[in-house]
């Protein structure tokens, strides 16, 4: 539960001739997390991939590029599952067959896309010429006259007049620039060109010599439409073709990828001229079967106990807590030796969430929402997230009962909307608006419990990794500091309740003194005097849990405000008021629910990440990633 799966380090040694069959077995067993061989020792080298690897990787690349034309969602279920023996016989011919079928169409698509690009270029040239309004015959074909057609930043008329008097210029505005045609005698052409260039001239090469630009544009438009239709058709054809062969293609892709993985296994192994060694980690409970199965390949499997001990982390949590692994890993993967906080998080996260939102109405909506969405979003990440939302929703309903709130209305107490007997009831956990100080104390108590747990884990982690001395000097001292803070807060509350000045001496304050002294001594010894200032951080950590109340009050405040506007101000004002009231009510509660998912979720996460995790969690572990994979589109015969 709090610890990851126990691992043993294994070493597989055998002659190279049996490498291939060993790779097969390892892949099928899917339990060995291989530690890459770094190749530093002289005698053993990193192995070279088996001969088939290059051919296989070419096939896999081809198949993946073909598959990229089909849009698949993550949860596609194949209609037919191919067997491996069936596939390995036809793999080669099938891949080339599929390739030749589809490649010709892909080439055609590429040609069309080329042509479309050229049409777009041509259209970009013709549009300014249409704006200029000169027919194409006039723009070329002179013997003694040079024609400049192009874009320019400003009207060149006066500048050209400085150079020559014999010219003609036509100009029109086009997209924040001017398009201009200048006719000059050949002798003056060079001077005029220079002038034009100074004004940022860009030439347009006139695409046609005769006819009309408008006609050409219409023609191009028509061609474009035709080509686009053709393109759509081709794409649809490819998709249809691939859908027909989809199961086969997916199966081939899976089969060939697996074969490729096996062929590339030598890259992770240490090899000499005749032997190979693979080092990795296997869960302890599976070691015996792993050994038996693997040794059938005439290789030796040993449990090793060498100095390099960096086992991967495989989560071991009850299925209820599984979804919360998502939240743990998005912080960091716990090291093998560390406490895995997932289960603790699975307990506290929904409680924090429920405490903050705490409303029967919103809770029911959250439950419904998570159940509905979990039918739509099937990927693993979404399922985990929605499962967390479901737990949080249930917790929200329970706390809602405790606070007696339903969409911001009070169920129990003297303002009960149910009236009658319920007006004499009191909500079990108190009313959040009127009992805020009481609940504030509750949140501080939660803070002390939650962080104590963090420190206990911290003591255990440090003790395991660096010994008890460090654990006492680095973690246990802070645990005492936390308890002293708890005493100080208690003293504060006691004095307040008794109505005497808050800092007058009482037994709680006195109890805190020896704790603070012990903490100070240990901290100075272990971490140095600079760390004494961190006492304030711990204090602010504790007060930080007041957000459990704060966020809740905000959501109650919203709900009450909307209800008041709708029921007391708008609805009594006749039919228009009634409609406006209903709209305000729906909109307001919708916004509140949206905030009610986001804010308590984030704040609850923050309390775990910032206040809880930093007390013990270092992270930086390696995720357990065994060699092998779960087949989906193919099956192996036994």
């Amino acid at each position: 539960m709090l610890k990851p799966v126990e691992m043993v380090k294994v070493c597989i040694v055998g002659p190279k001739d049996y490498f291939k069959s060993t790779a097969e077995t390892l892949h099928r067993l899917n339990v060995l997390h291989i530690e890459d061989y770094s190749g530093e020792e002289g005698y053993f080298q990193i192995g070279a991939p088996l001969d088939e690897a290059s051919k296989l990787s070419r096939f896999v690349v081809t198949l993946r590029s073909l598959l990229s034309y089909v849009k698949l969602d993550g949860v596609y279920e194949p209609k037919k599952v191919y067997s491996v023996s069936e596939l390995s016989q036809v793999a080669e011919s099938k891949v080339s067959e599929l390739e030749s079928m589809i490649t010709s169409k892909i080439d055609e698509i590429r040609d069309i896309e080329d042509r479309l690009r050229r049409i777009a270029d041509e259209k970009r040239l013709i549009e300014p010429l249409i704006a200029l309004g000169l027919p194409p015959e006039l723009l070329s074909g002179y013997k003694n006259i040079t024609v400049f057609v192009g874009f320019i930043r400003s009207d060149p008329l006066e500048r050209i007049m400085d150079v020559t008097k014999d010219f003609e210029r036509f100009i029109a505005e086009f997209e924040r620039e001017y398009v201009v045609a200048v006719f000059v005698k050949n002798e003056a052409a060079n001077d005029v060109l220079r002038v034009l260039q100074e004004l940022g001239w860009r030439e347009i090469s006139v695409p046609i010599k005769e006819g009309s630009f408008q006609d050409k544009l219409v023609e191009l438009d028509r061609e474009e439409v035709e080509l686009r239709e053709k393109l759509e058709k081709l794409r649809a054809e490819i998709e249809a073709l691939e859908m027909e062969n989809l199961d086969l293609m997916l199966a081939l892709e899976e089969h060939l990828s697996i074969e490729l993985e096996k062929c590339e296994l030598p890259l992770k192994a240490a090899t000499s001229k005749y032997a190979f060694i693979i080092v990795g980690y296997v869960p302890k409970e599976k070691f015996e079967t792993f050994k038996q199965e693997t040794e059938k390949n005439k290789v030796v499997v040993l449990e090793t106990k060498d100095d390099v001990w960096k086992p991967p982390t495989a989560f071991k949590n009850p299925s209820v807590a599984k979804p919360f692994e998502l939240l743990t890993t998005s912080f960091s993967i716990p090291k093998y030796t560390e406490v895995d906080p997932t289960t603790v998080m699975a307990f506290f996260f929904p409680i924090f969430f429920g405490f903050m939102l705490g409303d029967i109405g919103y809770g029911v909506i959250l439950i419904g929402l998570s159940l509905w969405l979990s039918r739509i979003f099937k990927t693993e990440g979404w399922q985990s997230l929605l499962r967390i939302l479901l737990y949080s929703g249930i917790s929200t309903v329970i706390f809602g009962l405790g606070f007696g709130e339903f969409f911001g209305f009070e169920l129990f107490g003297h303002e009960s909307i149910l009236g009658g007997e319920f007006e004499h009831w009191e909500p079990i956990l108190g009313n959040r608006l009127y009992d805020a100080p009481k609940l504030l104390v509750v949140t501080l108590a939660v803070a002390v419990i939650h962080m104590s747990l963090g420190f206990i884990f911290g003591i255990r982690n440090v003790a395991k990794e660096h010994g008890w001395k460090h654990a006492i000097e680095e973690k246990f001292n802070w645990f005492m500091a936390l308890i002293s803070i708890a005493f100080i807060i208690t003293g504060f509350i006691m004095n307040t309740l008794a109505g005497i000045p808050v800092f007058s001496l009482n037994f709680a304050y006195i109890a805190a003194v020896p704790l603070i002294l012990a903490w100070a001594v240990l901290t100075v010894m272990g971490e140095g005097p600079m760390f004494l200032i961190e006492y304030l951080t711990l204090l602010s950590n504790t007060i930080s849990y007041a957000r459990l109340l704060a966020v809740g009050l905000a959501s109650v405040g919203f709900a009450i405000a909307f209800n008041k506007i709708a029921f007391e101000m708008l609805m009594p004002a006749g039919i228009v008021g009634l409609i406006a009231g209903i709209i305000i009510l729906a909109l307001g509660h919708f916004i509140n629910i949206l905030l009610g998912i986001l804010d308590p979720g984030l704040q609850s996460l923050r309390l775990h990440y910032v206040e809880f995790f930093v007390k013990f969690f270092e992270g930086g572990g390696i995720r357990y990633n065994p060699f092998g994979r779960i087949r989906k589109y193919t099956k192996e015969e036994v």
């Binding site: 998005s330 912080f331 960091s332 009127y434 805020a436 100080p437 504030l440 307040t496 602010s540 950590n541 007060i543 930080s544 007041a546 957000r547 704060a550 984030l602 996460l605 923050r606 990440y609 910032v610 930093v614």
Partner: protein, 71 residues
């Protein structure tokens, strides 16, 4: 819950000003954290952690507001 006028204003200022302060603190951290996450999504946990550190100031403001109003 009878609260004198000035006390209410004081409580409001405590929360409001603390909120502005935290917001100013968080803007730079948030931008940097989003940048880091765009580079490498693994930073999500640490990014969130860094971003919300100034937030505690608002809670201080809130606690002060409570002390003003209820005690």
């Amino acid at each position: 819950m009878p609260v004198e006028g000035l006390v209410a204003i004081g409580a409001g200022l405590a929360v409001g000003l603390a909120g502005i302060g935290a917001g100013l603190g968080e803007q730079a951290i948030g931008a940097a954290a989003v940048g880091a996450m765009a580079e490498d999504p693994e930073f999500f946990g640490k990014g969130l952690l860094m971003t919300v550190i100034p937030e505690t100031i608002v809670i201080f403001g809130l606690v002060v507001a409570f002390l003003l109003m209820f005690i």
